[in-house]
């Protein structure tokens, strides 16, 4: 049984905020594949194309037949813990601060032996389900989880450090006017978020949906506009020390191709979708990074709600797609820049949202705000980095991963 996460006490102003330290970062090129899997919430290992032997640790030639064709693919995650230890002494600062640390050796039913972290509810002799998670260093690591966890299993300290769980955390949603903002707020509160701040751009412009947020417990609307650096600086000065998760929902959509349009809308697209993300990261990121290991409500993630058009050309939304592609690139740079702190950059890729007027004329399937909210909260709980949400985004994402050039040809080859 995992005991429920306590409510964090208020910050002691006389105490130094712990400097983020990371678990071991270095990995071989082959082992980076674990992180690729973990980022997507998949459990997969290298499998030999020729003899189907499952490999671990990751390597460059098959341990059974020396073939060098090893593909990463999903593998059955079940196995048994053969041995365990509780480490009480380590020369590595990250683990020293978290002693004692349990780890074990699991015989995976699919073959290999896995050194792994142990969830608090499992031990030697247990049948377990293995999962790949991103640790604070951003690397994919193995953890043995109970087959049926208890109610608070997500509160296990080892597992929580590999997630960005919104429980007991304070979240800033950058744009309350976004179609998904209300669903997201409700999903976060349901998941145990202690407070949801919402940025309200252009408070001088009335919006009837505002009423849904007004007077709600643990919900605050605050002036924030992703296009206005001064508003970001102002809000960051006010609540920057309390933002544990930042979710960027600001988006500006206009349809049309490159030809037959001017650059005014394109500039707006970039100003909101690309530079807006940059400004928010610049305004809140450094403070969050400094608080990335500050106890129960440490800062943990920046979530970018991206259009899946960031991965593909779209002649009907050229500037929008370009600004989303640029935003996607920014998220990748941010991932690298935040690596040293353990702050995670989560990308949720979505297709057209049901009810979004800019995609109103497009046929289904569309993704509902509730689905986006669920996927976002789930990605935080599970500690994912790459999250396609909805049928269209999943389809495009899979095709992009498989062959981005082929995807381009498929899309641009469609009849006008």
């Amino acid at each position: 049984m995992t005991s429920a996460l306590p409510f964090p006490s208020k910050k002691d102003p006389q105490k130094h905020t712990p400097v983020p330290v990371l678990p071991p970062v270095s990995r071989s090129r082959a082992s980076l594949g674990l992180g690729v899997m973990a980022a997507q919430g998949r459990f997969g290992l290298q499998v030999c194309v020729e003899c189907e032997a499952v490999q671990y640790p990751p390597r460059d030639a098959c341990l059974k037949c020396l073939s060098s064709e090893l593909n990463w693919q999903d593998v059955s995650p079940y196995g048994t813990i053969l041995a365990e230890t509780t480490i009480r002494v380590s020369p590595e600062p990250y683990f020293r601060e978290r002693m004692p640390w349990r780890m074990g050796l699991v015989k995976l039913n699919a073959g290999p032996m896995l050194n792994c972290h142990l969830h608090g509810e499992v031990g030697r002799g247990n049948n377990v389900q293995m999962a790949l998670k991103l640790d604070k260093a951003g690397q994919g690591v193995l953890i043995a989880l109970p087959l049926e966890g208890s109610e608070n299993m997500q509160d296990d300290p080892t597992l929580r450090a590999m997630s960005c769980n919104p429980k007991r955390r304070r979240i800033l949603i950058s744009d309350a006017r976004a179609p998904i903002a209300l669903a997201l707020t409700e999903a976060l509160l349901k998941a145990g978020a202690s407070h949801v701040f919402l940025g309200e751009p252009e408070a001088w412009r009335a919006w009837p949906e505002r009423k849904a947020f007004e007077g709600r417990e643990n919900v605050s609307l605050l002036p924030l506009d992703a296009t206005d650096t001064s508003s970001i600086a102002k809000l960051s000065a006010e609540i920057g020390g309390k933002v544990d998760i930042l979710i960027n929902t600001a988006s500006f959509v206009r349809s049309g191709g490159v030809l037959g349009n001017d650059t005014t809308f394109a500039r707006d697209c970039f100003d909101v979708n690309t530079l807006g993300l940059m400004r928010l990261a610049q305004g809140f990121g450094p403070g969050m990074a400094a608080r990335a290991q500050d106890g129960i409500n440490s800062a943990t993630a920046i979530v970018s709600i991206l259009s899946v058009q960031s991965l593909m050309p779209d002649k009907n939304y050229s500037a929008y797609a370009a600004s989303q592609a640029a935003a996607h690139s920014i998220t990748q740079s941010l991932r690298a820049e935040f690596r040293g702190s353990g702050l995670r950059l989560v990308n949720v890729y979505i297709g057209p949202i049901e009810g979004d007027p800019w995609f109103q004329h497009l046929p289904p399937p569309k993704v509902t705000p509730n689905a986006v909210a669920r996927a976002t909260v789930n990605s935080l709980i599970e500690g994912l980095e790459e999250v396609p949400c909805g049928d269209i985004a999943k389809d495009i994402y899979a095709r992009w991963r498989a062959d981005a050039l082929l995807l381009e040809r498929e899309i641009t080859g469609e009849a006008p």
Partner: protein, 257 residues
């Protein structure tokens, strides 16, 4: 001639005349006009730091600005509207600079606007004003005081599902002002036209008729409650933007005490 200018400077120095600032501060939060989303939109005022006595420029601070010609307190040139597109010298850089300084009268509609968001400036209102203050002289700025500039937040645009609601002139009133051959027309609201001005014939009569006749507009003015009905001097030179349809500007009035 030099005596006249000396009189002005003396009056300012002695306090016999004073300057009233009719301008709102350019601020990212200041409202701009809202059009249906599929139309192009007026850029909000934005300011990005270039350096602030730091590694980007050790001894100086400066900003890059982003804004529309019609952001904040601003000037409308005739070519802003389709009716004025062929007006000779209708762009801000072409207008005779003499037009930027001149006499101004203020018609106080604040009482009506206080009770009616859609308060209309009608020929009757103008004629009533003229009864009291005399006929509006030719080549004079006419400002419509509504105290609307004291509103803030969503009350300023006062948007409703059927569009914004704010005071403005009727087409007949604009016709009358044109008959007086005024220089230009100014308001405290986000446009020279009423919030519901699109429903007049012609739609947006202030824009349509005034600019078609080569007249100018000023909007987002403030401090009109400090202005005398007559006798003040308005100083309103827009930026010299090539082919510009308007310009944010500092609007000043000189009044005697």
């Amino acid at each position: 001639m030099s005596d006249s200018i000396a009189n002005v400077t003396d009056a300012l120095a002695s306090g016999a005349a004073r300057i009233i600032d009719l301008t709102h501060t350019l601020d990212p939060d200041f409202p701009v006009i809202i059009l249906p989303p599929e139309f192009g939109q007026c850029a909000r005022f934005r300011m990005e730091e270039v350096s602030a006595y730091d590694h980007r420029g050790p001894a100086w601070k400066w900003h890059n600005l982003t804004l529309n010609e019609h952001t904040g307190t601003h000037f409308d040139a005739p070519i802003h509207w389709i009716s004025g597109k062929d007006v000779p010298n209708g762009a801000v850089d072409e207008i005779d600079p003499a037009a930027f300084i001149g006499p101004v009268v203020v018609i106080d509609c604040s009482a009506g606007a206080a009770t009616d968001d859609d308060f209309e400036l009608t020929p009757e209102t103008i004629e009533a004003w003229e009864t009291e203050h005399g006929m509006i002289p030719a080549d004079t700025w006419v400002l419509m005081r509504t105290d609307w500039s004291k509103r803030s937040g969503t009350d300023y645009l006062n948007m409703a599902p059927d569009g914004p609601h704010s005071p403005g002139p009727t087409p007949a009133a604009v016709e009358l002002l044109l008959k007086r051959n005024i220089r230009g027309f100014g308001t405290e609201t986000v446009g020279t036209d009423a919030g519901q001005g699109m429903h007049y014939v012609p739609p947006y009569p202030a824009h349509y008729l005034l600019h078609g006749a080569g007249k100018f507009g000023l909007q987002c003015l403030r401090n009109l409650d400090q202005m005398p009905p007559t006798g003040a001097l308005l100083i309103a030179p827009p930026l010299k933007i090539k082919g510009g349809t308007g310009s944010p500007l500092r609007v000043l009035a000189m009044v005697t005490r």
